[in-house]
Symmetry: C2
Subunit: 350 residues, 2 copies
């Protein structure tokens, strides 16, 4: 049991005990001013012995640096609105980001959606922010922009083409990979199921799908389901797709939708992958759990978190802004897209 009042050890206490002024203490510990090495060392020893740690508030007040960054936490309700890949991805990202920040000796604060309700106490004092999946006219980025707080986003901001501090997967390339794979596995027509959130993920994947169809001479079949509707929304769209005519493959952006759609079709006697291929743009427990397991695009979360934190640190240090970071998604080939006989509903190239 060391000191009794270690809790309140202030810079004055250290100064008194070392027989110097508080200036000397501050300078000694921070390696700044002009202090003889002997004094510096002595002060360091005293401070260490007393377990002195500079008060973060006072330091932050003076130098307006908190050494902590924020991660905008979108609650479950708003995740329905914003978070395309669902809570799983978000929480994994939070964990990876925390692991990444600790390496740099930064704190990571989870703050609720900044756009509604009273601002959480610390939110405006953080050094920077990571924003998850900004949507069109996102009030959160508007607020940060307005306050001049540095931030990076996961996925690009669809409304700000000139904003460059983002990290994302190459959605266009990923989409083409998936579609090529489905076509190679025998799908002559491919239905696309996107979400309704107005974020880059939805926009870019759909655009890539349309472009790919054009090239392949295939008629686009596009469906939209609100992200928040999850598996049930997937079931509903599965039925709708069936009513419109069985395609060779169904590509659902979210894992929940894919799982629901697959389930709805299976319940109506359709076999996967025998009669239709199913694939999702974001792996989740639902896609893994489904029988047969659903092929998916997989996100390298640690890499994404590392890139985000790195970029944010760069921005905070005022480094010049290079190009956005594009990561490659892995395609996880599972049973739901095993190749088989041709499944052309509308003949390819017809």
């Amino acid at each position: 049991m060391p000191r009794e009042l270690q809790h309140g050890a202030t810079i004055w206490d250290v100064a008194r005990k070392a027989g110097v002024s508080i200036t000397t203490v501050s300078h000694s510990l921070n390696g700044k001013g002009n202090i003889s090495e002997a004094t510096r060392e002595r002060v360091r020893a005293v401070a260490a012995e007393m377990g002195y740690v500079a008060d973060a508030m006072a330091r932050g007040l003076r130098s307006s640096k908190t050494d902590a960054i924020g991660l905008v936490f979108r609650g479950l309700d708003s995740l329905g609105n914003y978070g395309p890949n669902g809570v799983d991805v978000f929480m994994k990202l939070a964990g990876a980001a925390a692991a990444e920040t600790l390496n740099r000796n930064l704190g990571l604060m989870l703050v609720p959606d900044l756009s509604r309700g009273p601002l959480p106490p610390f939110s405006m004092s953080l050094d920077g922010y990571i924003v998850f999946a900004p949507h069109l006219d996102d009030p959160v980025v508007a607020l940060l922009e307005n306050r001049g707080i540095p931030y990076v986003t996961w996925d690009r901001d669809p409304g700000r083409p000139d904003f460059r501090n983002w990290v994302a997967h190459d959605d266009a390339a990923s989409t083409r990979t998936v579609l090529d794979h489905l076509a190679a596995a025998g799908a002559g027509s491919i239905a696309y199921v996107g979400g309704t959130d107005r974020n880059a993920w939805n926009f870019d994947c759909e655009a890539a799908y349309v472009a790919w169809c054009l090239e392949a001479g295939m008629e686009p079949r596009i469906y939209h389901v609100p992200e928040r509707d999850g598996v049930e929304g997937g079931q509903e769209v599965g039925a709708r797709i069936l009513a419109d005519g069985l395609p060779g493959a169904v590509f659902c952006l979210t894992g929940r939708h894919a799982s629901g759609a697959a389930q709805a079709m299976q319940e109506r006697g359709i076999r996967i992958p025998g009669d239709v291929l199913v694939c999702t743009g974001s792996d989740s427990e639902h896609s893994r759990q489904h029988r047969p397991a659903i092929s998916a695009l997989d996100v390298d979360i640690p890499a994404a978190a590392a890139a985000l934190v790195q970029r944010l640190c760069d921005v905070m240090e005022g480094k010049s802004e290079p190009d956005p970071v594009l990561l490659a998604a892995r395609f996880l080939h599972r049973k739901s897209t095993s190749p088989g006989k041709a499944r052309n509903q509308q003949k390819r190239g017809s």
Copy 2:
């Protein structure tokens, strides 16, 4: 685009614009002093119009309240040492805790393991802490105790029987539930596989197992595998159990161990649940994914998080400390423990 320098709007600016002193501003906004309702309202309006938010640093410095709590984040390396249920549970807890704190308008900061390396800047200024699964002589709780920072723990601290601010599942009751279930499903002998971390979870489950065996007249068969060894450790212990003689059931505390043990036995021709029942004390993706799916105890994470945050707030407000919170775990009955013919290796009661 509102104001140009909203970023730096200070209490002085508000005071000047409202034609009052900063005292009046502070009092008006915080509903303290003795201010006429007219003035109070006018100041409020001006502040709102300017988008004024009190600087958290200054406020914190003055009143030594940060309105933020910390969650000790144990990195992947130390999770091997500390986190009994693996990273999944921890991240879910973090998410649930974040959702819970935002309701109270508190910030939640993830801080790295406090016991090693330099302390992250903010760690000693937070109002309180949630510590995940403290182990015997945990340096993190020692540090918090030493600094006089309020904290609650998830799972009790095995080394401090008189510390009461914890929330946990009733491990003894859960263990009995599982063992009763296994016995009822026909297991005449049950092998127990625990971890090596010195935390309450391991201690209490093992003690309950031993007690239950004594009552049931069954010879205890206890194995230990380091948590960090994961699935591979489970495979290894599965082989070891088999070499010692096939029991009627295997109860592994962690999902990874259970999955590995099941796998090792299945590879050697043992059928589950035909020849042996397998069950785990903490549900995870591994237990869900395994074929057959492995029965498990399931944690109600949101309830746990809510209880932890609630308790921490109580402690911070200096409320009297009631009894620790004991939550009930749900038992998820899956295929791996389907009842069948008696599987008595050693006859029950013999």
